[in-house]
């Protein structure tokens, strides 16, 4: 499994186990299907910050980063690499 695939799987497990959101695939449109709403997003951000040690700025949130499981995984990678550069 590639590194991205592993991250996808971790995010998918977090959705399933922590948020009780089961999705068919990592490309399922979470927003279009109505699976992700604002309150779920708030909960998701708390868990992402905890589990992946990232810091999300509210004003910089872009809905497209939460469109699919894969998009969330890319979002995490991006923040992690930014944190490494900054550190």
């Amino acid at each position: 499994m590639t590194a991205d695939g592993a991250l996808d799987a971790r995010v998918r497990r977090l959705f399933s186990e922590t948020l009780s959101i089961e999705v068919e695939s990592t490309d399922t449109d979470l927003i279009g299907r109505g699976l992700l709403d604002s309150l779920v997003l708030v909960e998701l951000l708390v868990h992402l910050e905890e589990e992946f040690q990232i810091d999300v700025m509210a004003a910089e949130l872009d809905p497209e980063d939460f469109r699919t499981i894969s998009a969330v995984a890319r979002f995490i990678s991006r923040l992690q690499s930014q944190a490494v550069k900054a550190g």
Partner: protein
Amino acid sequence: MTALLQDRVTRQADRNAGKRAIVMGNDSLTYGELEEAGNRLARVLQDAGCEPGERVALFLTKSPWAVVSMLATLKAGCIYVPIDIASPAARVRRIVRSAEPRLVLASQAARDLLDDLVEEGDLDGVPVGSIDPTPLAGRRVHSVFTRSDWSGYAASPLGSRGSSDDIVHLLFTSGSTGAPKGVMITHANVASFITWATGYFGMTASDRISGHPPLVFDLSTFDIYGTLSVGAELHLVPPETNLVPHKLAELIRSSQLTQWFSVPSTMTYMAKFDALGRGDFPALKRVLWCGEVLPTPTLLYWMERLPGVQFTNLYGPTEATIASSYYTVPELPRSETEKIPIGTACAGEELLLLDQTLRPAPVGEIADLYIAGAGLSPGYWRDQEKTRTAFLPDPRSDDPAARIYRTGDLAMMTPDGMFHFVGRADSQIKSRGYRIELGEIEAALNSLAGLRECAVIGVSTGDFDNTAICCAYATADGTGASHLRGELRRLVPSYMLPSRWKEFDHLPKNSNGKIDRAMLRGLFAQEVAG
């Protein structure tokens, strides 16, 4: 104004065909386009065999074409049933079986859900039409027409048929015994609220109005028919915008909305993320909310930033159509603990506080809140028993047709004539604006193998989410909470899933041998607070 909702739109189209009616993202329809598409689709429905009084199920999320679908259903004399496509198939199945639709209108997002229903035989003999230009082609579901096919039908008016007592839609809400119940809403019900609201708020054709709640919420009825009745512009909030507080604020700003109507959890979300600037939204005239209690700190946040904007609290259950009372906040609340009243009845409606013998309760006393008036639904779809329990003969009237609706809410009236919401007389809670019967969750849990007993309890968090759903359970075979949760999510929507679980060998009982809910509530409250 004319009696039928769809005729109001026709009238606006006759006057102002080129004016923009509905906008969502890059998608928009003028009044002329809305009217013509509605007429064409109505003929498609008739051609597919839809007879007046039959139901059309809408497996649709918010979009201009979803509004076309509603209007077309009404033009064909039918009743529409909005379906929450994020709900599990098991729950949608119960709604479909109850509503018995003659036809389904759907968009691509509903494909997997429809596949499940078709596979289980729930839609045998029920054709599915696509409101997208492309066909719906799933494992099992195959649409019989697409939006591209509508152009073969005439766009001219169909001629008004029907009466104001005809049913517009069935809105299914959580039922305490497990089965969702369908509230029947008539043209006259909606017209009564719209007539009051457009007058009170002074809505005109120059307004730009938000369409924030999902279509399964009756609040969306006000946005849609209120806007289209006065020839204004409806700005539907796309789901991706709704995710992020700053995007919501940006929409209000850039679309120059004059009216913002949402549930309190959305207003709190925007406040928590500090999405509003001082003096933001110069075009905004009024902010309305309904569906649950707005925390006063949230109201203070909004009012401090938006001086000169009118802030109005609306109150009312689906059974009394959109809202039955209103309170416009006259000045900045003095403290974060000041309670905002639900106010006084809208024109045509009446709020009553009655004791257990249905006699008026004295001023200042907490009592059951009843509603009378033009907004009262005829009752629950195909459920005379539930209708009789909730809709009672008006004790003040000799007219056998006069009724009052028991809201299940507890309230009191202060000497100034203002009504104040106090709480619930039963186990219904509100979360994210959704009305949830804890009994529905318990019924779903009790259907699971391995579970011996359970109690689902709502505990106020005093914070953002308002109410935490907590579950105490005992199993016969050591089944864990994660398994139960996994099974439960096949039966109820995600907003009904308990966030806290506690396992017991036996649930605590009181002296009557009943589950001691007060004790469990105390246990969970400590946990939630900690």
